[in-house]
Structure formats: structure tokens, C-alpha cells
Subunit: 470 residues, 2 copies
């Protein structure tokens, strides 16, 4: 496979473009078992950076990391009726272990509300133990019939938070805090993806939840991608797992629980929000490699100049790599760096040494600027900051240009053929959701007229965002 | 469960002491499925710190992180005869997924040589692609009949490195680099565990390996714990998965592969190396919480003084927490901090405010020193540094005091009843290993007379370390 081969263009075949980018930027491969994926080092480095940024915000929100088992007794899932109904078709089941058939089949976790519930019931004794705020980084398995790398895979990596609260109000406030301060903040500020935080309709809720909040993003084909969700479970899991606490009056009411998750699906969202016909474009704040100093050819003083710039940039806090593979044609390497979407490339050739200038190539605006060596560190710093902001602005402008106001289901269906429709929720309802489903469309989320996130779907004057989705 | 309950003492019942510490320091619980464990936040924080320290060293050794699927086709394991023979009795098998019986059963990875092998064969084309140095952080499953939290669990967390090299010499050098620069360096410098790096005998090798290197540690009951292993696979997996490369002469020889891993078992090793009858003792460099500022009682100026010390310590780079739970009796909190092994505790009571002194309590030497407020930051810094060194010295002295030279299997068997025996390998051999097994003892590793790690078990004058083990 020549990496210099041109990608399929986005307009000609978006799904094929996506596959090409995943393969040629060496992000991932399909695994041998249906729907699984091998995340290659460049793809995994993106995920590691996402993890670090989310993990810091999760800890700031007061949650502590823990780790719960991969294997869940089948009986646990059956304790919450909607939950088991939602997940049964996607379960992978271990029936044989240690050379014997098992008495009770074991489920490979599709999500961990049930097993967290079982233990949180033991750990929560009194109101003094609340809130109990836990999170885990883990793999989960949901069998996929139509898998797609990063977007829908039989195994994926994620974080899942699980919390217990004394009151419904406290649980609701925490789901909103996670939605805004963890997910939306990280996605907007780091991924430069202008997600829309909103409330899911009852039809689109998580299996077993009382309310589901979501961050929705528009991809460059106009479809929506759910980037992260935060669920109020009401007392459903508290009842199923007997999570109760001694309150100040000496009674033992059921507690209120939440869960919230974001996964490797975000990598797919990143590709499809910012990628172009030359490959990935990684937002500078996210990029594990923000700049690469490239030796175009060998020559007197080239290696010294390149090494010096790497040292200067690193000292200035830039995450920088050196490309000294002068045995490989430069054109091929340049195409590869474009594919990989590294924000800034500094090209150094033999003539640059005597001229005292290098070329600063910015992936996001696509500019090439001859720059005196002494000004490179400042120029790179400014480029990283400007290009982070530019990516967000560009994605916002794209989303807004593909979003249309509609008043009827028919209008919404037409608009959502190429993007999103905004339609009064009162004009949709359950019946409207069924009609949208005929066109493979859904209500992605509900918003208040001012754009804020409603508490329930029963508030007046809500707006529904309608679109096709991944 | 009262946390103030005294632990079982180490001398009266070491396994019970271990269980007590795990439960009362809230490190982990048993999971619902046999042999699985729930790692609680305090235990997971220890693991996160171990991960960070290992991960940095793995990256310094040039390996890149990736992620391979949990699920492996059963047929992959069968391609390497010794490998499948070694792991078959421990496999968990998925036979049912997505509502259907599967045509080919799927194995939940017990380790990932086979699936890495399949992909590395695709990615390695020519000698220019070598060495290929990969690592993953993952969960693995090995069904355990006699599980023990952290030490032997049906699911555990680990890193597994997998590399491909052009020559046997390069592969061998890399296994040694990982053994010394990653495992031994991190275990000695951070965990303060004086591990002995050595070579496994053919009987004790990893299933499918040509040579296995190990870091062995002595626990406080005199038993050995294998803390990490690094394997030369020879060309076994290269042949099984057709990992070949175009060399400079235009031929396509098989490559040489390695693998190496360290797991949550290290948490068990940490507990059993440094713990005492009051609980854990966490080495300062590892500790997620190095110091805790404790308000003994509420009182005029106590909160201000405590807050100021927390800020000063944090500014000095100390990982510090505040304990302001004055509603809980101080004795109970003190017992809890001892159990959790936080290296330094700073006690502040109402009288301390006027006196301008606080009490610095050091968990490792067990000292309590009245200290002027202005000197606390310097005192804590010195304590952390001195106590890190003291833990290592103490563990070394203990190990040496429990290690005896032997010349016969009978002598070795007697010595290894309470610790380790050092015996000439020429006096053991395969037959001696069989005799040791009758006393539940094994050769933990082979060393050269100067203590360095041999290349093969056939070198002259090797010393065998004999012991009981976990
Ligand atoms: Zn509602
Ligand atoms: Zn050998």
C-alpha cells in the first residue's frame, strides 16, 4: 500500500474517505473477530491524549477512578428490566472457563451499571457516604452487526462514571456538571468540536435511565455523532440493587444514581469533524505531536539546525518530533505528515541553512511561510494557538450552515437530508419520531429556546434537533 | 466493619494479615464471578501511579502504545504448540454472541502474543521496519482455581510489550533492556522493592518462550513473588505467524520476537514487601498522597493553619491532602491513615496554633516530631527522601537475612522453608527441580556468580535461587 496514494474525496464517497484516512494515517485496522479493531500507535496516541484531558476534568469534578470486573453474572443484568431488554441482543456470553462448562453463564460487560450497583449498595451506609463518585477506564463489548472502526465496534474503550446521591436534585445536578464541565468543555476546548449539549427524548434514552443528556456533533457529511452521554437513573438501579442509606431522620430511603460515558468513538468524531481530502487535521491542544521538524535533504548544517530547532521548541513547551528520514523522498514524507494532520511542519533544506530561514507549513490553514530561524519558536506558538481557534470556528460555521429551521416533519425530513433541522418539539412528539424513523432520522436532542439544556422533555417551547446519525 | 479493628499480625497468620490489609485499607474486594476483583479507589490510585512510572520508562525504551482486541479466535492460539498447551486450562471461552451461537469459539485473551503476531506479520515488510516495538495496557483473563486478590486473579490488569527484531542478538538485548531499565529500575527506585533480576530455568519459562527473564522479590513471609517477566521468543511466534522481513541481501528470513509484562500483582508485592502490623507503608515516590495535613480538632486558627500548610506543601511539589473531618474521632482517623500507609501525617490541634508548632508523624520510621510551622515544608521533604531510602534498605536487609547458601537439595529445601536458598545450579538441574517441587519449592531464577543475569542456563558456575512462591 503506497501511502502517497490520494484519498477518496469526501464529496465523492464520505464513508470510503473515512476508511481511507483510518487506514492510510495508520489509525486502526479491523480485528480478526467480527467488529473488533486494532488501534495502531498513531490512533492510540490520540486516544491517550483524550483520556488525559478527560481524566483530569473527571478528577476535578470529584470522581475517583476504580476498576470493576469484565465479567458480570448474567443474573445481575436481569434485575433491571429495561436495561436487560436494551442490552440482551448485543451481549457476548462466556459459557466455558477453566476447562469446564459454567453453571451460570457470564456476560462480558456491555456497560457496568449492574456490577457497580451491587458494590455501591455495600459501600453506601449513611448519608455521610454520599455522594459516592466513581469512574473507570475500561473495555466493553456490544456485539455489532454493522461494525465501523471507532464508531461502532464490538469492543471499544471508554470511561464510565457511576455515582450515588442522596437526592434527585443532587443526581440531576451532577449529570449536568459532567455534561458541561467534563464532556462539552473538553470537546470544545481541546477537540475543537462545537458539540451541542441537550436532552434525549424518552425514545432515545439509555436503557434504564430516567433522563439522558448528550453532546451531539455534526460531521462533515452533515450527520450527527453522539460524542458522550450522561444519564440520570432515577431510583431504578437503586431499587434493583438495594442502594439505600441512613438519612438524618433515621430512615433508609433509596438513593439516586447516575452514569456517564465517552469512548473511542470520539476518535471517529475527530476524524469526521476536522478531516479534509488530504487527511486528518488534529487540533493543536490535542495533538501528541504538535510540530515536526523535517529535514528535506541531508546537507551541511541541516541536522544541526534541525536539532537546534527541536530543542528550542521543546524548551518552549511544544510537543515536537524530528523527521530525519532523508533516505525517503521528501514528497512522500510530506504527504504522510499531511495525512496524519500534525498541525505544524518545519521544512529545512540545504539552502535554508545559509539563508537563515526555514519554511513553516501549517496544516490547518494550509499556508507555507518562509520564516527566519530566530522567529520560528514564536511563529509556531502563534500558529498553534490561532489554528486551534480556527478549527473550532470552521466547524461551527459548517454546522450552522447545515442547520435549518423547520416547522413540520416534512420540512425537517428534507433539511436533515444534508444536515440538521431545528423544529418545535411540540410539532414532533412520539408520532413524529416514528415518522422520522422511516427516513432513518432521529431527534438528536432537545434544547430550550435559549439553547440551554432542559430538565425534562415536558418543558414548554422546546426545540428538537433532527438529523441522520452514526 | 470498624476500620479501627486491629489487623491480624503478620507472624500469627500472614495470609490473613494480607486479606485484612486489603479489606481495611479499602484496596479491593472480591468480584462476583470466581476469582475476579473490584479494585477500589485507594488501590486503583496505587496502580495508576505504577502505570505512570512504568509507562514513562517503556516510552523511553522506544516502545509505542497500541490496543489489540480482547477477543482472539481460538485457532490463533493453536498455532504455537507450547503456547496453547500452557494456556488451555486457564481459558475463558465465548461461545454465544449477539443472540447466536458462534461458528468458531472466541477466547478471551490470556495474553496477546498470537494476535500481535498476526498483525506484526502484516506491518513488518523490510528490515527498515525493524525493530517494531509495541506495548499495550489491558485486562487479561486466566481462570484461577485458587484465586487471591492482586496475586492470582481470573482477570487482571497489566501491560504487555511485544516486539519484533531482525536478529536474535537484538531481541535478546531488548529483553534485557526492559528487565533492567524498565522493570528493575522502576521497582527498585519507585517501589523500593529490591528485586533480583535473573534467568528462569527451562521448566519455569513462559509457554512458547526460548528464554524468560524475571524480577523476583522476597515478601515478608519469606516467599518469592515474580514481579515482572521479559521473554525472548526466539523464532517460535515468527514461524507460527509468518513474521518475516526483506533483509539487505534480498532474502526473507523469519524475525525474532519478544514479550514482557508486569501486572496488578505488583500491588500485592508492594503490600507484602513493606506492610507491617499497622497496615500499608507506601514508598513516598509511589504514593499518590505523600502527606496528609490533619486537623485533630476544630479550633481558633486550626483550619487556616492547615490550609496554609497544604498550600505551602503543594507549592513545594508534595502530593498532599487535607483531612478536615473533625466530626470523626481523631484516633479513628489516625488508625486509618496508618492503615493506608500515607508516608507523612501532620497533626494540628488547637494548642498548636498558639505554640506555632505542629506534629510531624512519619509512618515508615514511626516517629512523631514537634516541628515549628516554618520548618514543616523542609522537614516533610527530608522525611520523604529519607524514608524512601529507608524502606529499600529495610527490605534489602530482610531479604539478605532470609537468604542462605546451600550446597545440596536437602539444605536448600530446609533454608527455603523460611526464605531463599542460593545453591549451585549444577547441584540442581531438572532432577533437582523435580525434588524441590515435592516441597512446593521452585528455582526462582539463575544468576551468575557476580549476581548478573546469565544469557543461557548453560553458562558455567550459575547460582540458583530457590524458594516458595506466590
Ligand atoms: Zn422525563
Ligand atoms: Zn536456553
Amino acid at each position: 500500500m503506497s501511502r502517497a496514494a490520494v484519498l477518496t474525496s469526501q464529496v465523492s464517497d464520505f464513508p470510503r474517505w473515512y476508511q481511507d484516512v483510518v487506514a492510510k494515517a495508520q489509525l486502526a485496522d479491523n480485528g480478526p473477530v467480527r467488529g473488533t479493531m486494532v488501534i495502531r500507535p498513531y490512533g492510540y496516541a490520540i486516544w491517550e491524549r483524550m483520556q488525559a484531558e478527560l481524566d483530569a476534568r473527571i478528577k476535578d469534578a470529584g470522581a475517583q477512578n476504580a476498576y470493576f470486573p469484565l465479567f458480570i453474572p448474567e443474573s445481575y443484568l436481569q434485575r433491571e428490566a429495561e436495561h436487560v431488554e436494551g442490552f440482551s441482543p448485543e451481549l457476548a456470553v462466556v459459557t466455558h472457563a477453566g476447562g469446564k462448562d459454567l453453571e451460570e453463564p457470564i456476560v462480558v460487560r456491555p456497560t457496568s451499571e449492574t456490577i457497580f450497583g451491587e458494590y455501591m449498595a455495600k459501600w453506601v451506609q449513611s448519608y455521610r457516604d454520599l455522594p459516592l463518585l466513581l469512574n473507570q477506564w475500561a473495555n466493553v463489548v456490544r456485539w455489532e452487526l454493522r461494525p465501523r472502526v471507532f464508531l461502532r465496534t464490538s469492543e471499544f474503550l471508554w470511561q464510565e462514571g457511576h455515582t450515588v446521591h442522596a437526592t434527585q436534585a443532587d443526581a440531576a445536578a451532577y449529570t449536568r456538571r459532567i455534561l458541561h464541565e467534563v464532556y462539552a468543555a473538553m470537546m470544545v476546548d481541546v477537540l475543537a468540536i462545537p458539540v451541542v449539549p441537550g436532552l434525549k427524548t424518552p425514545k432515545e434514552r439509555f436503557a434504564g435511565a430516567a433522563h439522558t443528556l448528550t453532546c451531539e456533533a455534526m460531521m462533515r457529511d452533515g450527520k450527527a455523532l453522539q460524542m458522550g452521554t450522561s444519564h440520570e437513573m432515577g431510583q431504578n438501579f437503586a431499587r434493583a440493587f438495594d442502594i439505600r442509606f441512613l438519612d438524618a431522620e433515621g430512615e433508609r430511603p433509596y438513593a439516586w444514581t447516575t452514569s456517564w460515558g465517552a469512548s473511542t468513538r470520539m476518535v471517529g468524531g475527530l476524524i469526521m469533524t476536522h478531516g479534509d481530502d488530504s487527511g486528518l487535521r488534529i487540533p493543536p491542544r490535542l495533538a501528541a505531536t504538535q510540530a515536526v521538524v523535517t529535514m528535506v535533504k541531508a546537507g551541511e548544517g541541516v541536522a544541526e539546525l534541525a536539532g537546534g530547532l527541536v530543542a528550542d521548541l521543546r524548551a518552549a513547551g511544544v510537543r515536537v518530533d524530528l523527521d530525519d528520514q532523508v533516505a525517503v523522498a521528501y514528497g512522500r514524507r510530506a504527504v504522510d505528515w499531511e495525512l496524519k494532520g500534525v498541525p505544524v511542519r518545519i521544512e529545512i533544506g540545504p539552502r535554508d541553512v545559509s539563508a537563515g530561514t526555514v519554511t513553516v507549513v501549517r496544516r490547518i490553514p494550509g499556508t507555507k511561510t518562509p520564516t527566519p530561524v530566530a522567529e520560528v519558536v514564536a511563529a509556531v506558538g502563534e500558529a498553534l494557538s490561532a489554528d486551534q481557534a480556527a478549527l473550532l470556528r470552521e466547524a461551527e460555521a459548517f454546522r450552522d450552515s447545515r442547520t435549518v429551521d423547520a416547522t413540520t416533519i416534512d420540512e425537517a425530513t428534507e433539511a436533515a437530508g444534508t444536515g440538521w433541522a431545528r423544529i418545535p418539539w411540540s410539532a414532533v412528539g412520539e408520532e413524529g419520531e416514528a415518522r422520522l424513523a422511516e427516513s432513518a432520522m432521529t431527534v438528536r436532542c432537545l434544547l430550550r429556546p435559549d439553547g440551554s439544556v432542559p430538565e425534562t422533555e415536558d418543558e414548554p417551547d422546546l426545540i428538537a434537533i433532527v438529523g441522520r446519525s452514526y
